[in-house]
């Protein structure tokens, strides 16, 4: 090895050592970019699994599902979940354009979550409805102890066979720069078939 090669090796070693010495300061100053930022919203059946969701519903009988949120937004977030109820002609949220459903919320939950934290709760609900011929009218939804007038009507679904309604949950996230809640383009639902009185 000649002197020039040795000099280069020596300088590189010194720079390497210098970077090792600087690394604690760099760790304090440099913030590495975090991964993808997103929120999760899920709904599970009464056995706490993604199965056995209530479908064939009787009047005034209590049903249970689990609703959950998970925060992967790299910070403290403020969530609002709207509970909405629709018949087959009412609008659903537009997942492509990120537009929530026009329907008035029946109930809401407010949740604060730190990064990588989860929230989950049992949702109990029952319905009061009437079936007359080919028409089913849902007059009341009792959810988590709140008795709410819904007044939804649907006709007999010839194709699928049943009186179908949908209970769905929209996730909203507080945006401090707006400042207001914005729809997070996430919603989950269960189909319900009002069967017997």
């Amino acid at each position: 090895m000649n002197l020039e090669d040795f000099k280069l090796l020596y300088v590189l070693s010194c720079i390497g050592l210098g970077l090792i010495i600087l690394s604690p300061t760099l760790a304090v100053v440099v913030k590495l970019p975090s991964g993808e930022r997103f929120s999760e919203l899920w709904i599970l059946g009464p056995s706490h699994m993604a199965e056995d969701y209530p479908f064939n519903v009787s009047a005034n009988k209590l049903y249970k599902v689990y609703l959950g949120i998970s925060n992967h937004m790299d910070g403290l977030e403020y969530y609002r979940v709207y509970v909405k109820f629709r018949n087959q002609t009412d609008p659903l949220p537009d997942a492509v354009n990120g537009v929530p459903s026009d329907l008035e919320p029946l109930l809401e939950y407010r949740v604060f979550l730190k990064h990588n934290e989860d929230w989950e709760r049992e949702i109990h609900f029952s319905f009061d409805f009437d079936i007359e011929g080919n028409i089913c009218s849902v007059s009341k939804l009792v959810i988590d102890g709140y008795a709410l007038d819904v007044d939804k009507v649907t006709g007999w679904d010839e194709e699928k066979g049943g009186f179908h309604f949908q209970l769905f949950f929209e996730l909203w996230l507080y945006n401090a720069s707006v400042p207001n809640f914005r729809f997070d383009d996430r919603f989950v639902w269960i189909w319900l078939n009002m069967t017997s009185l």
Binding site: L22, L76, L107, F112, L148
Partner: protein, 165 residues
């Protein structure tokens, strides 16, 4: 006569309760106002707690308060939807009260966290600067040492010239 007096007394009590109910009942406008205030209080607290958390402060206790207030606010909106304005108003007021002072506490924690961060940055910066200076000086001496040693070894390898006899 006694019967008449009792009847008047009964009617008076009935009227009293009715007036009391009318006077102290909460109307929709009052509930809406309380809900707006509660929402604003909660959001203000949340924004500062979020900033404190970003600055590295431990906001666990404040988060408990936020969660409690959030539950109250949701209950306020939910009872308002059922038309129970008294309860809705009460929940909204409780929500505002439960986050009272939270923003100030969070601001204090944020300032502390920022101070701690500055201190840590200064300390590691100072230690790194001293260590880099020492490395620089030592590397110069080191280079001289290795260079001399290199020359010495090269000179030792120089072929010796002996006088021919």
């Amino acid at each position: 006569m006694v019967k008449r007096k009792s009847f008047v007394c009964f009617m008076f009590i009935l009227m009293f309760f009715w007036f009391a109910h009318v006077c102290f009942a909460v109307d929709k406008a009052a509930v809406d106002g309380a809900l707006i205030d509660a929402e604003s209080d909660l959001v203000s607290a949340y924004v500062v707690v979020g900033e404190a958390e970003k600055a590295g402060a431990n906001v666990s206790e404040l988060l408990v308060k936020l969660r409690f207030a959030g539950t109250l606010l949701a209950q306020a909106y939910n009872t308002n939807r059922t038309g129970d304005y008294d309860k809705a108003y009460s929940f909204a007021i409780n929500c505002s009260e439960s986050v009272d002072g939270t923003a100030d506490e969070a601001l204090g924690l944020k300032l502390e966290a920022e101070k701690a961060y500055s201190g840590r940055l200064f300390m590691t910066g100072a230690v790194s600067t001293v260590a880099l200076s020492v490395l620089f000086v030592l590397s110069l001496f080191g280079w001289r040492f290795w260079k001399n040693r290199y020359y010495k070894r090269v000179l030792e390898m120089k072929p010796k010239v002996e006088r021919a006899e």
